[in-house]
Symmetry: C2
Subunit: 108 residues, 2 copies
């Protein structure tokens, strides 16, 4: 789905990753992190797709919200396991969304 | 693959989309747009995945480069066909990448 974000400015965290072949606890943890992120103050939505490369974009009200989510204990444990087990490489980019536009057939 | 972008600041264009069932000329056009984008001044790389939702992130040196790419004739034709044929919804977000960090097993 396309995240229903408010009028900019807001923040995006682009997380691009390549997986190892190790699946142990991966799916459960990913779903749990989605659930927990959505409960954080300042969370605005997220979008995700994997096709070899995985791209997850989460949207946030401000930098403070992103910093707070990064510090949540369960998230820190998941990040550690990500480096040790699940990902062979990843890159996180913190971005200020300055402008957006779109189109939706179902709204026409 | 993960795009090998330079030290921030630079720009990201996050294009999130949902497809119609119409495939006519879609793949050829998508590949041609990737080829043409990579030839534009200021292009820094891109990442793409589709799993129901499609996410393509392209990276650019500055806003000027993004504006110039948007005006390229072949790209304008593709955008028009996107709205008329290939996508039921999309959202484009123009973002300033302020910070990035990552990890790559093959570089350790």
């Amino acid at each position: 789905m396309i995240a229903n974000t408010p009028t900019p400015p807001y923040y995006a965290v682009i997380f691009t990753s390549l997986r190892t072949g190790i699946n142990e606890e991966y799916l459960e943890t990913a779903l749990e992190m989605e659930r927990l992120a959505a409960l954080q103050p300042g969370y605005l939505g997220h979008e995700s797709a994997r096709e070899g490369t995985g791209i997850t974009v989460s949207y946030w009200r401000d930098l403070e919200s992103i910093k707070n989510w990064k510090k949540v204990a369960e998230h820190q444990t998941a990040q550690k396991k990500g480096r040790e087990l699940w990902y062979s490489a990843y890159k996180t980019r913190i971005c200020l969304v300055e402008r957006d536009y779109g189109f939706n057939l179902s709204e026409i």
